[in-house]
């Protein structure tokens, strides 16, 4: 089920609130967890009726293995249980996400029968499998390392994994993030109001900005010859669409979590204002970055090794980051693209990534924006051939006929408004203006009224867009 669907907004969500409200009458949190768990299962099964059982079985296996592992921690059986608890979710992820890709990649060395490849291509990807696999494995590792206590209550573990706000597109919530809140949390008016505001902002980012940018991207993509101006606008729109789509979803997830008393980790923090790619990745998909840091990079030795091994560690992490995003060479190249640039930044700038002079900062921003734009062209393209065509189009040299020029200019003029809004919206500027204005006004009541009106207006406008069109795919569902 999509957050940005009528079924979710006007049926599922009110129903969950009603049931959760009833469950809250009882002091015992089990009832609230039960409501969230059952409704989360319904939420997932609504989108993936068959694969719901896959998730259910995985959670039960991990539950059994971790319980047994805890009992036999010192023995070889315990180690086997731990290994299995990590390997099984990854094996499932590999099967559903990468089988066809690896078979096709290795086909020149291992000549599989054509029928094998054909049947591998028919495997469909369960929604959100990349996210819940990472959550399950991080839980297993953390329990094994003693970072968190074993969850003996299957309902609580299932609630953690299946929790609908973050189940299918993140942020990647670690067990330690919600451990305490699974057994003790309160839904206060403050939590509820802040959650509503955050959710509505996310909904607006997704429906009013990302989807409209998506329309622009599709229009530009359909043109035979875009010309240099539209090619740059297209490339910018691709980056902004991915940002607003994904950060919008994260905002909705964090907001929903807040409404039910959970505090999920932040996932984005104005990545486009970064002046180095290292900083960009501290602000972009933060929960994925920290997951790879904590469960891959640091266990490999991180930067406390010889330089060559350090670079190898970095490239491995970025190879895996790319692969996590999709079973395709463009995703792997996208990941390695960042890996190479991050190594170069570390070699040339060391730890002083931030340039002190204004000129240095401007140069840093220009470099980051260009690198990000190129990287997302690779990310967004169907394959590397298309990506290279899109990147070449950014360079001058391709002539245009009059009709093509007029069409390209119209497409650009038609979408300048949304590009401007998205560009400004990707910076802290609107929030800064908001804060300054209401600090100057010193009227909390007015701010509350404006917020309430804003919530209703964004909700209605988003609904209006959903009703009027069907351009509504979440980009990150395929991961």
């Amino acid at each position: 089920m999509l957050f940005s669907s009528i079924t979710f907004l006007y049926f599922f969500l009110p129903t969950v609130f009603i049931l959760y409200g009833i469950a809250s009458i009882k002091q015992d949190i089990t009832w609230r967890n039960l409501v969230l768990c059952v409704m989360s299962c319904l939420f997932y099964a609504w989108g993936e009726p068959m694969y719901f059982f896959l998730m259910l079985v995985q959670v039960m296996i991990v539950y059994g293995l971790t319980c047994y592992m805890e009992k036999k921690r010192e023995s070889a059986t315990g180690k086997v249980c731990f290994t299995l608890s990590v390997l099984l979710p990854f094996a499932s992820l590999f099967y559903f996400k990468y089988t066809a890709f690896f078979m096709m990649t290795l086909t020149s060395w291992l000549p599989w029968p054509e029928s094998w490849i054909k049947s591998a291509k028919t495997i469909t990807l369960p929604i959100g499998i990349s996210f819940y696999t990472f959550q399950l494995t991080s839980y297993c590792i953390d329990v094994w390392l003693g970072r968190v206590k074993l969850q003996k209550n299957l309902l609580s573990l299932m609630t953690y994994v299946a929790l609908f706000p973050q189940l299918i597109a993140g942020p990647i919530v670690r067990y330690s993030d919600v451990d305490k809140e699974l057994s003790d949390r309160k839904t206060t008016r403050e939590n509820l109001a802040e959650g509503i505001v955050r959710f509505t902002i996310g909904l607006g980012k997704k429906v009013l900005i990302a989807n409209v940018l998506g329309e622009f991207v599709a229009e530009a993509l359909a043109l035979e010859n875009r010309g240099i101006a539209l090619s740059w606008a297209y490339a910018l729109a691709v980056s902004l669409q991915i940002y607003f789509d994904f950060s919008g979803y994260s905002d909705m997830a964090i907001g929903l979590g807040r409404m039910f008393g959970f505090h999920f980790p932040e996932n984005f923090h104005y990545p486009f204002i970064s002046d180095s790619l290292t900083e960009f990745w501290r602000r972009w998909h933060m929960t994925l970055g920290t997951w790879f840091r904590d469960y891959v990079y640091i266990p490999m030795g991180g930067n406390r090794v010889k330089k060559a091994k350090w670079f190898f560690n970095l490239l491995t992490v970025w190879f895996l980051t790319g692969l996590w995003h999709g079973a395709g060479w463009n995703f792997i190249i996208w990941g390695l693209f960042f890996g190479v640039f991050l190594i170069l930044e570390k070699v040339f700038f060391g730890k002083t990534e931030r340039k002190s002079s204004l000129l240095g900062k401007i140069a840093g921003h220009v470099y980051v924006v260009i690198a990000i734009i190129i990287s997302f062209l690779i990310f967004h393209a169907e394959n590397m051939e298309v990506a290279m065509r899109d990147i070449r189009a950014l360079l001058p040299g391709m002539g245009m006929e009059k009709v093509q020029l007029e069409t390209a200019l119209f497409t650009l003029r038609n979408r300048l408004g949304i590009l401007f809004i998205a560009l400004v919206g990707s910076t802290p500027f609107p929030l800064l203006v908001w804060k300054r204005f209401f600090t100057w006004l010193r009227k909390d009541v007015v701010e509350e009224i404006v917020k309430a009106i804003g919530v209703v207006v964004i909700l209605l406008l988003s609904t209006a867009y959903l009703i009027d069109g069907s351009f509504n795919p979440f980009l990150y569902f395929r991961f």
Partner: protein, 371 residues
């Protein structure tokens, strides 16, 4: 008092606004009266999906339910208008759902020219000619869509019409081209619809008649009848409160005495379908709208000639104006019938038969619709 008011507003107003919206719409969706048709969008609204295990497994139940909820959402038309205003006025878009308004006319963007599509259309026309009437003289005319008159002048892109015409002419060398473009202007089209206005087609009919040699039989003095409040197809798509316009149709004794038989309905009907005056699309009054194959008999025609017209929806309103000159007119729309089946229903070899292909530029640019 002030403090308690402040206390109440803090958080509660946001919570109240949000929950009033989601719960309010939910209740109206559940208990509100459901329409079966959307007049503005000219279509039947989705029915509540029937629950079956199979539809649950293949996910179609969820998709159908979402479609049902979208169709029956309270204040649907108002919300669509809200979206249109937001797109125009806040985002500064020049179109909404590809619909733009210029000089009081609504047009739908159609660009660029799809050369392959135009070539395919020409090939399909040629194939029909080669199969059924290789030696007969055939004519073709292209109807310009509204963008030809509106788009370029108002800064909107449009297809390369000259290229379209030359692509057709290069391929249809054994047919006679009738150029009707100079006989038309934007005023000859409905403001809210794709189509041309029948009452404005005098010059166009004359031009076709001159080339095909039937203009001397034409009787261009008709009684003009009015149907009020016609909302064209772009009215619903634009989601803007555009004004309605009258739809006129021309009639005389010849048209009133003529009858049409259609393959789908297998019954004889009048040329103008009065029951369509209350239907979704009032333009369907002309020859009952989209039909695969029709045989029109005109007992008061001034000749014994026969005409076979391959047409799209533009043909529906112009064909009645040919009835003075032809005893029988066969009207074929190959979007709804495969050309390979035509031999079963139409005799192409009767003497005194003329052939006319009449297609509009929008169809030629999307010729995959033609079978």
């Amino acid at each position: 008092m002030v403090i308690s008011m402040k206390k109440f507003i803090k958080h509660n107003l946001i919570i109240l606004g949000f929950f009033c919206c989601i719960a309010g719409f939910m209740l109206i969706l559940i208990f509100g009266e459901k329409e079966t048709n959307s007049i503005s969008e000219r279509r039947k609204l989705k029915e509540f999906p029937k629950f079956r295990v199979k539809t649950l497994q293949d996910h179609s139940y969820m998709e159908d339910l979402e479609a049902y909820l979208l169709d029956h959402f309270p204040f649907r038309d108002n919300l669509r208008s809200m979206k249109a205003y937001f797109a125009y006025d806040v985002l500064g878009q020049l179109e909404n759902n590809d619909i733009y308004i210029a000089n009081g006319y609504a047009g739908k963007l159609e660009y660029p020219l799809k050369e392959n599509s135009v070539i395919k259309a020409a090939e399909k026309m040629q194939a029909i000619k080669a199969q059924y009437f290789p030696k007969a003289e055939a004519y073709y005319a292209i109807v310009p869509d509204k963008n030809y008159f509106l788009a370029d002048k108002n800064g909107y892109p449009s297809m390369d019409y000259n290229r379209l015409k030359s692509l057709m002419q290069e391929r249809l060398t054994d047919m006679t081209y009738i150029d009707i473009w100079d006989t038309l202007s934007i005023e000859d089209y409905y403001a809210t619809d794709t189509h041309w206005r029948q009452e404005c087609l005098g010059e166009t009919v004359q031009q076709i008649g001159d080339v095909m040699g039937f203009s001397e039989y034409l009787f261009l003095d008709y009684e003009q009848k009015e149907i009020e409040e016609f909302y064209g197809v772009y009215y619903g798509q634009s989601a803007l409160p555009l004004s309605s316009e009258p739809l006129y149709y021309l009639t005389n004794e010849t048209i009133q005495m003529a009858t049409q038989w259609s393959l789908e309905k297998n019954k004889i009907q009048p040329i103008y379908m009065s029951e369509e005056e209350t239907g979704f699309d009032k333009y369907n009054i002309f020859l009952a709208g989209a039909q695969a194959l029709q045989r029109i008999e005109s007992p008061l025609a001034k000749t014994e000639n026969r005409l076979i017209v391959f047409r799209d929806s533009f043909g529906s309103s112009i064909v009645p104006l040919f009835l003075e000159a032809y005893k029988e007119i066969i009207v074929i729309d190959t979007r709804y019938i495969s050309p390979s089946l035509l031999g079963e229903y139409v005799d192409f070899e009767t003497e005194n038969t003329q052939i006319l292909f009449l297609y509009n530029t929008l169809l030629l640019n999307n010729s995959s619709m033609l079978k």
